[in-house]
Amino acid sequence: MTTLTLRRPKPEAPDARPRHPQPTPGPSLAKRMALRWQLYVLIAPALLYIVVFKFWPMYGVQIAFRNFNPFDGFGGSPWAGLQHFQRFFGSAQFATLLENTIGLAVTNLVVAFPVPIILALMLNQLPAGRLRSVVQGILYSPTFISTVVVVGMLYLLLSPRTGMVNNAIDLLGGERILFMGSPEWFRPVFVGTTVWQESGFQMVIYLAALASIDPALHDAARVDGANTWQRLRHVDLPGIAPTIAVLFLLAVGNLMNVSFEKALLMQTPLNLESSQIIQTYVYQAGLQQAQFSYSAAIGLFNSLLNLVLLLTFARLVSRLQGGADQ
């Protein structure tokens, strides 16, 4: 028994889930709601939260189409139409920003997403005990370090003169590298620290999913002569596939919201070429230079892009799952 508390509900037997539920004539919606009022009471706080904090603020999105002026407010500022969007699309920065943002987001997803799965599968092979909990603790602990501190550590560790990393490179006969001043190093360093910082947390979720796999399946596989690798491939992986799908969709949902503060903190004039992403640009144009409408328009564009990506990937995932079921 591990210390894990997260558990995936046991999958229902396949035949208990009708593929195409038959529409049965029943009581009206209002009647059904009245019948199950407890459920609606349960869901109400969450619904209220989403309406108040997620939907209501969208009212402010309209300033992307206006020349916002605080005195006239959201609703009263003069209309500007698509002027701010046109300005952004016509800007010399547009192509670079788009490329950097998508490039960073996709690299981040592709590299950082599989790591916790691999870690969880490996850790799962260790017998439960002291070693396993120590390793798990070590992998999990970077989650608790704030981004500001991580980036501060980066500057120290990667300093070309005094940093530990460059001292080691020098000792091994290599050329010292100006990590924080090279556009080509921005993405590797960014993604590398993301992996280091966030893998532990995700790993725990996968471990929980692994723990819920019926041991009987493993025993059966062993009896059939499956080796460790085959059991990983044919028992563990399919067992956590639904979890992977869910976490993947969540990750895609946040794809374009790659850690903004980290990009900003890691930005120097020398790596701007690859470190200027849409969010940092919005921050500089919007908050620092007070071009609220312009930055709202860019932010809205960013969200739309993310929505398109999310829908695309969601379809892809459901198709893949559909394929796996058949």
């Binding site: 020349n67 002026n69 605080p70 005195f71 006239d72 003069p78 209309w79 300005r87 800007s91 010399a92 920065q93 500057y155 300093s159 070309p160 003169r161 100006l178 924080m180 001043g181 120097t268 004039p269 020398l270 701007l272 070429e273 200027q276 500089q284 144009a285 908050l287 620092q288 230079q289 007070a290 071009q291 609220f292 312009y294």
Partner: protein, 528 residues
């Protein structure tokens, strides 16, 4: 057409707000017992809320001077001032949210803020109040019409009040310190030409002047585009045209954008050569001020030369004897340094908002700070604490206690903010603090004789100009900042130059220079 309507709407709204604001104020005034002359300013205590920036070490409510103000005037202040970085981020949110303080103290409002929030009624026009309730400030304006011109917005209103210390300390912000102990050890004299300097840096790099057997010397370190730590003056020595953080200089009344001039390209090409020879600290474009200042205090001495406002702050009291200021270097245009666009005037020290119920009392309160003796205390601390009278009656800094640092003490005891100390006041009322006097002397003797003749004044732009400038600058700044650093470190300026210039033209650099030129011309006309 749409724009005219918008402006008209904004104006009518601001008028309406102005009216309701003043009637509220009258009620408030009656309650508080406002007095037009003498102290206290109000017979019934009132409380005002101020926000703005403050020095990191300042605790405004605890300052002797601030406590004294409250006792004298019966006006209590709720200070919500924050350190500069934090405040700058919050400033736009405060203005946009409408949750306004009664006044901004050390407002840090940009010209664009002043125009936007002045014309839309967030900030109250002050010229009428000044006429009635600000005798000290009026005296200053009579002596310095240029200062009044500087605070008067394009629409003729005054929305924010000035501060000024007429010492010209920022005229040349880049003071170049060089390690004279190393020069001596290597048998070199103080560099006079740019070639001398190159030779000295090469010697620093290769001859192990700190004698620890390691090539850990940093011949030249700086912070790119930092207001007092950039190498703009080395551009002048290398190519005959100085650069500065604005990339904007003035020659013969013509505004020049340096970052598209051939001189700029040539200087960068040479700097890249210096960089590849290992003469320039690779961290010059990635370090912040804290990392930079720490470099001068490492266990073994590593800095050969560096750029900073003063020598001692970088290397500390123990090592400062090893360093001296290096004068302008002889280059293609002779000895030349840039003149910064910093001016001794600022026009954003104080502003009253429409939320203020006591604008008259607030104006009388702030006008007290423009009395020359009070101004000195605002800047350097209360008499008896930071200042004392010498035999001739001149205010001088009190001696530092053991272990005290002048800069830190000033942060702790002087609120800073609205104050004016004119050139003549430095003769008759307050002596410049020793550091400032030293700097003024260094400037006069070493740098100013070789400085560019003109600089860009504190000109006011119209709102349309500001809007257009904001748009252009977002892109221009991104391109220029990135390329300047990248070319010096990685080279390629010759190859990329044409594409770079056309990208800047596309971003509207010609318009930008045109706007600066127009505002310059207006300012020149006004100050005649």
């Amino acid at each position: 057409m749409k724009k005219t309507l918008a402006v008209a709407a904004a104006l009518s709204l601001s008028l309406a707000a102005g009216c309701s604001g003043s009637s509220d104020a009258a009620d408030g005034q009656a309650d508080a017992g406002f007095k037009t002359t003498g102290l206290p300013i109000v017979t019934q205590p009132i409380t005002l809320t101020f926000t703005g920036s403050k020095a990191p070490l300042a605790d405004l409510p605890a300052m002797t001077l601030v406590k004294q103000w409250q006792k004298d005037t019966n006006v209590a202040i709720t200070w919500q001032n924050l350190p500069l970085d934090a405040y700058k981020e919050k400033k736009n949110l405060i203005l946009a949210s409408g949750d306004l303080p009664d006044a901004f103290y050390n407002s840090e409002l940009s010209d664009s803020d002043i125009m936007t929030y002045g014309t839309n009624g967030t900030l109250v026009p002050l010229e009428g109040l000044i006429e009635k309730y600000a005798p000290n400030l009026q005296k200053v304006f009579e002596k310095r019409p240029a200062l009044k011109a500087a605070v008067t917005a394009a629409d003729g209103h005054i929305y924010a009040l000035p501060s000024a210390e007429e010492l010209e300390l920022g005229a040349v912000p880049f003071f170049w310190s060089i390690n004279t102990a190393w020069l001596k050890k290597l048998g070199l004299s103080m560099p006079q030409t740019v070639e001398d300097y190159h030779a000295a840096l090469t010697a620093f790099r290769t001859k192990d002047p700190n004698g620890n057997g390691k090539a850990d010397e940093i011949p030249l370190s700086f912070i790119g585009n930092w207001w007092c730590a950039d190498v703009g003056d080395l551009f002048a020595a290398l190519s005959g045209m100085p650069d500065n953080v604005d990339h904007r200089i003035v020659r013969d009344d013509k505004v020049i954008y340096t970052a598209i001039q051939p001189e700029y390209r040539d200087a960068i090409a040479k700097l890249h050569q210096w960089y590849s020879e290992g003469l320039i600290d690779p961290e010059s474009f990635t370090q912040n001020d804290k990392q930079y200042l720490a470099k001068g205090k490492t266990s073994s001495e590593v800095l050969g030369s560096y750029v900073w406002w003063e020598t001692e702050e970088v290397v500390g009291t123990d090592r400062v004897k090893d360093y001296a200021l290096m004068g302008p270097l002889e280059g293609p245009a002779g000895k030349l340094v840039g003149r910064s666009n910093n001016v001794d005037y600022s026009r954003n020290a104080f502003a009253i908002t429409r939320a203020n119920k006591h604008p008259e009392a607030t104006m009388r309160w702030v006008d007290r700070l423009y009395d020359p003796v009070m101004s000195a205390q605002v800047a350097w601390g209360a008499i008896g604490e930071g200042l004392q009278k010498d035999a001739s009656g001149l205010l001088v800094a009190t001696p530092l206690k053991a272990g005290e640092n002048a800069g830190e003490r000033r942060q702790k005891i002087a609120p800073n903010g609205p104050h004016v100390t004119l050139k003549e006041d430095f003769q008759t009322i307050v002596a410049p603090e020793p550091r400032a006097a030293q700097r003024a002397k260094d400037l006069q003797e070493i740098y100013l004789p070789y400085a560019e003749k003109q600089s860009y004044p504190l000109a006011f732009f119209t709102q349309d100009e500001l809007a257009r400038m904001g748009q252009i600058q977002t892109d221009v700044k991104a391109i220029v900042d990135e390329k300047r650093a990248a070319w010096i470190v990685r080279g390629g300026v010759e190859k990329d130059w044409d594409g770079y210039v056309s990208a800047l033209k596309q971003a509207g650099i010609d318009d930008l220079v045109g706007i600066y030129q127009a505002a310059y011309d207006r300012n020149k006309q006004n100050s005649q």
